[in-house]
């Protein structure tokens, strides 16, 4: 088995504990200048993020897309600021139609749109792509929802408006400053099951056109939950070593500790003439152990299996908006240092190192864009972006690794035309350069029509082509990297409707989209070499992903402080391996891709009465196949997933501070389950949150 830093599925032949931590906040004085192209308001659950501050300057890059153009889901602050223990993966699982694959609590989590793979989801933070250039994916468990002020999901070909390579879609994350004027702070402390501690501190200052915000998030847990291991038998022997009885043992989730810290600084300055300058700096320090498999028979304490990741990201931006034109430029840098160690105590103090992988990635980023509006009917948008990736990857045991550098660049031009107040048409073109390879032009066409103005009923459709270039691991990983790989490419079509209607105290909204996407040259890693002891990526499969996304929202203000909000999502997404692998005896052709559910749904319902809120969340994924041949037995699939969470919150207002109290109950029905085969998940668990927002004035 290959022993390098390879974040791809592998299948070969080989294969601490602690005290409670307190919140630490490191203040850094950095002159910050933040673009503020959009305003958004923070609505908070009582008892969670009780911040009374409004986000006055979110770092929204560039152009605000017309409602008729593509399929876009915006996550509001209510979803993002539910409680400080939640990662963006948790938020997306309950509040979107995306499929979130989580390997465990605070473990590697990926997100995919419309039956595609996680590497087909592009993630942009304040305009800069943050997918790892090595495996091409982003770990959503390392993005605290409290450090995100707005998240937009661009489904399918809509992603081309911002980035290429998002064959499934794109996730756009924005951060910004808070207090309009003066100083404000907020502190939230969470304490929960399995000795879990979560802390959040936010400090905002604003004066005139200048505003600055500093946020810190810290999470720690031994994560040592107890579960009945139905995949093992505990043997009871007699004196002659004969087994006289067996039972499924109760075990702890061993080696599951995590300790994540984040520091985010946002600042902006806006002049009276409309210039905006901004800077966002985000540091992440993460230490995580990798829990034992349920079928691992090694003893506790006789192994090391953990990883460290330190990432610094920074984006500086300038924008100017006038009546006819907007311009914006930004520059960014990201650095990640990653280490993974796997070793076993072979006895007598001798440790057998299985893996000692490390990697450093540096990303340099430049982007510029402009929008010109003509006569109220035409809009021309241009966008130019460039990335330079440098990767150094090494593995100490096998002495394997690679150094690679690749410049990527893209040019995007779109022309929007509104021939009437109801009809909008848009034609766009994107051209990409990856290393020395220039893509074919990537066109997209969008059309939208306002069918019923009173109900806000739009019908819309789009067609687009898209590309995804192989990642640096795909091309250069040793052993197995394949420099001859071709880009994955495909056509996507979608059509749908959206409406939003508000009566006096009731509002109803909905959106439905049919989509159809064909992806050719799907990159698949397969075992290779003598003894099939390493993997190599090949362009093999043709995939047909199609289906329907449906969203619905309902809210009722019943008066006297009573309100009800319900939002639901449902996705039907067959994602069919059309071609198979081409191997003799292969039965995967015509089958659903592994770990992609055909059906997924989520529902969030909030009942608010004055300062009390009851939040109920539910998520469902249909059976996910583990085998490419779609066998449904216990080793071939993961049973359907249902999850129910409840949160009760109460807000208290005092003269000198606002206090919030919240109790979150996860896995309400104490389900015993797995989301990824042989990875244990916790039963019912609780976390209590105390939020304090001092009133300085």
């Amino acid at each position: 088995m290959s022993r390098g830093l390879l974040l791809v599925p592998v299948t070969g032949r080989d294969g601490m504990r602690g005290l409670l931590y307190c919140m630490r906040c490191i203040a850094a004085a950095v002159l910050v200048l933040q673009e503020g192209a959009a305003l958004c308001r923070t609505y908070c659950l009582p008892g969670t993020d009780s911040s009374s501050t409004q986000i006055v300057a979110a770092s929204v890059y560039g152009y605000r897309t017309a409602a008729w153009k593509g399929v876009r889901t915006s996550l509001d602050s209510l979803s993002l600021k539910e409680n400080i223990s939640m990662s963006l993966a948790d938020v997306l699982a309950y509040n979107s139609s995306l499929f979130v694959k989580q390997s465990g609590r605070a473990a590697f989590s990926t997100v995919s749109f419309r039956g595609t793979s996680p590497s087909h989801t592009q993630v942009l933070w304040n305009g800069m792509k943050i997918n790892s250039p090595m495996p091409g994916m982003a770990d959503f468990s390392l993005i605290p929802s409290f450090l995100t002020d707005r998240a937009d999901l661009l489904h399918g070909g809509s992603a081309l408006q911002e980035v290429s390579g998002g064959l499934g879609g794109a996730v756009l994350l924005y951060t910004g400053t808070g207090a309009a004027d003066g100083f404000s702070t907020q502190f939230v402390q969470g304490i929960g099951s399995f000795l879990t501690v979560d802390d959040f501190l936010r400090m905002d200052y604003g004066s005139g056109g200048f505003s600055v915000s500093l946020r810190a998030v810290f999470s720690y847990s031994p994560n040592r939950f107890r579960y009945v291991n139905t995949k093992k038998n505990e043997n009871v022997y007699d004196d002659d070593m004969n087994i006289i009885s067996t039972f499924h043992p109760e075990e702890y989730n061993e080696n599951g500790k995590y300790r994540d810290g984040h520091l985010l600084l946002d600042a902006s300055y806006r002049t009276a003439s409309g210039d905006r300058l901004g800077l966002s700096v985000w540091y992440t320090g993460s230490y995580r152990q990798l829990p034992k498999l349920m079928v691992d028979y090694s003893d506790v304490g006789d192994f090391v299996n953990d990883q460290d990741e330190n990432t610094l990201r920074a984006v500086a931006s300038y924008s100017r908006s006038s009546g006819m034109a907007d311009i914006s430029v930004s520059a960014g840098y990201a650095n990640t240092l990653f280490r993974y160690d796997h070793a076993f105590d072979a006895g007598n103090g001798h440790w057998s190192q299985m893996t000692g992988a490390s990697a450093r990635t540096d990303t340099f980023f430049l982007r510029g864009g402009a929008v010109w509006r003509f006569s109220g009917r035409w809009a021309l948008r241009t966008d130019v972006s460039a990335y330079l990736y440098n990767v150094h990857s090494s593995e100490a045991v096998s002495r394997q690794g690679y150094d690679a550098a690749r410049p990527d660049a893209g040019v995007y031009v779109s022309l929007d035309w509104k021939p009437s107040g109801r009809l909008g048409l848009s034609l766009s073109m994107r051209e990409e350069l990856a290393g020395r390879v220039l893509s074919l032009p990537v066109p997209a066409f969008n059309a939208g029509f306002l069918l019923w103005r009173d109900a806000g009923l739009h019908v819309k459709a789009s067609v687009s082509r898209n590309y995804r270039y192989p990642t640096l691991n795909d091309m250069y990983f040793l052993p197995g990297g394949n420099p001859e790989l071709k880009p994955e490419s495909g056509f996507s079509y979608d059509a749908g409707y959206s409406f939003s209607k508000t009566w006096d105290n009731v509002s109803l909204s909905g959106e439905g989209t049919w989509f159809d996407s064909r992806i050719n040259g799907w990159i698949l890693w397969l075992p290779y070499g003598t003894g099939k002891n390493y993997y190599t990526p090949v362009n093999l499969q043709a995939v047909h992903a199609y289906g329907v996304e449906q969203k619905a929202g309902f809210s009722l203000d019943a008066g006297r402080g009573l309100s009800v909000d319900i939002d639901g999502n449902y996705t039907w997404s067959p994602s069919i391996n059309v071609s198979g692998t081409g191997r003799k005896g292969d039965t995967s052709a015509g089958k659903q891709l592994v770990y992609v559910p055909v059906h997924s749904a989520s529902l969030v319902a909030a009942l608010t009465f004055r300062s009390w809120t009851l939040l109920y969340k539910w998520c469902w994924y249909s059976r996910r196949y583990v085998m490419s041949s779609n066998e449904s037995g216990p080793s071939g699939s993961v049973p359907p997933y249902f999850m129910n969470d409840v949160t009760v919150s109460k807000g208290l207002e005092f003269r000198r501070a606002g206090i919030s109290l919240s109790l979150a109950v996860r896995n309400l029905f104490n389900e015993s389950y797995e989301t990824v085969l042989s990875r244990p998940m916790p039963g019912i668990n609780f976390e209590f949150f105390l939020g304090i927002t001092p009133k300085w004035k």
Binding site: T11, D296, T530, R583, S628, S629
Partner: protein, 343 residues
């Protein structure tokens, strides 16, 4: 909305579970050890009866109500029991051969690969990462000591009081171990990554080295070779170097020890008296075939080749006559990687 809420409140999850049932195994058949998908705990054991053509899948999990584990590596029969080495579960299960019910297990291993029985009370276990061979007592299922080898060892063969072990992963040596003192008494360079070995009818040790397998391998990258080693002098008597950088593995001998077989874009066959390598495979693989394991039936000389297909679906086993004619094809578990005959 009401149906949705009802579905929320009245739904519950199942864990992937294995039902326990009675399993019956008759002798004379072939166990197929299926690795499963790494990291998912989907290893399994299949059993094929060559006389009836019947295949029983998942015989371990069905008999014991739990999965076999993660990455089953090899199986050995000794003392009336089957011993299944499950590499990434770091366990060796002992099972009753007639019903596959577990009799006990050996733990405390790092990354076990193969087990070799020296007596009823002593066995050696090689390890992919440990630079030593574990000494275990099969009666108590306990690790009792170690043979320090300096490099991880792979296969083992017992001959005349000595154990011969090849150091495959990033290794170059064949080790000669005195199984009384549990010490390495001699070693021999045998090319880059000697991957498998077998004794012939003349008592010579044949070693197949894969040459490193990929360009840039720090262990080295050369053309694969087949070596004949005399055990008296413990020296290389004959070295046959392959023409190209082909992937080779799984060297086995016919029951009479006069013919060698190995994998490399098909099944290759060579008489032990040959002074040069054959020009072409005896059974060429067809496009899209990925041969992964090889064995020969001592009763009728039939050759069995495992094909892992795409490594994430049930694999295939092709049964050929000793003349190379296809006689049968049957499905087994995910990623069939080793065979074990139940005589």
């Amino acid at each position: 909305m009401v149906p949705a809420l009802s579905l929320c409140l009245f739904s519950c999850m199942d864990s992937p579970s294995y039902e326990k049932e009675e399993v019956g195994i008759g002798s004379g058949g072939l166990f197929v050890v299926n690795e499963g998908v790494y990291g998912s705990g989907t290893a399994s054991l299949s059993y094929y009866d060559p006389h009836t053509g019947e295949v029983q899948d998942h015989v371990f999990s069905r008999a014991n109500g739990v999965p076999l584990g993660d990455v089953a590596q090899s199986m050995t029969i000794s003392g009336g029991a089957g011993w299944i080495v499950v590499n990434n579960s770091r366990v060796i299960f002992s099972v009753s051969l007639s019903d596959m019910v577990e009799r006990g297990r050996i733990t405390g291993l790092v990354s076990p690969r193969h087990i070799l029985f020296l007596s009823d009370s002593k066995a050696y276990v090689t390890d992919l990462y440990d630079t030593g061979i574990a000494v275990v007592d099969p009666r108590t299922y306990s690790v009792t000591g170690a043979v320090r080898t300096g490099s991880p060892a792979e296969q083992m063969i017992l001959r005349d009081g000595y154990v011969y072990a090849n150091c495959w992963s990033s290794g170059t040596e064949i080790l000669k171990i005195d199984c009384t003192s549990d010490k390495v008494v001699d070693s021999l360079e045998a090319g880059i990554q000697p991957c498998s070995m077998v004794f012939d009818s003349d008592g010579s040790l044949w070693v197949l080295s894969d040459g490193g397998g990929w360009e840039g391998n720090p262990a080295g990258y050369v053309k694969p070779s087949l070596l004949k080693i005399g055990t008296e002098e413990f020296a290389v008597e004959q070295e046959l170097v392959f023409d190209g950088y082909i992937a080779v593995s799984d060297l086995v001998a016919s029951d009479d020890g006069k013919t060698l077989y190995w994998l490399g874009s098909g099944v290759w066959k060579m008489d032990i008296s040959s002074k040069e390598l054959p020009d072409a495979p005896f059974i060429p693989s067809e496009p899209g075939q990925t041969f992964y394991a090889l064995t020969a039936n001592s009763e009728d000389g039939d050759i069995y080749v495992a094909d892992a297909v795409d490594y994430s679906q049930d694999g295939k086993v092709y049964r050929y006559s000793s003349g190379g004619a296809l006689k049968d094809v049957f499905s087994v578990g995910i990623c069939p990687g080793a065979f074990c005959w139940y005589r």
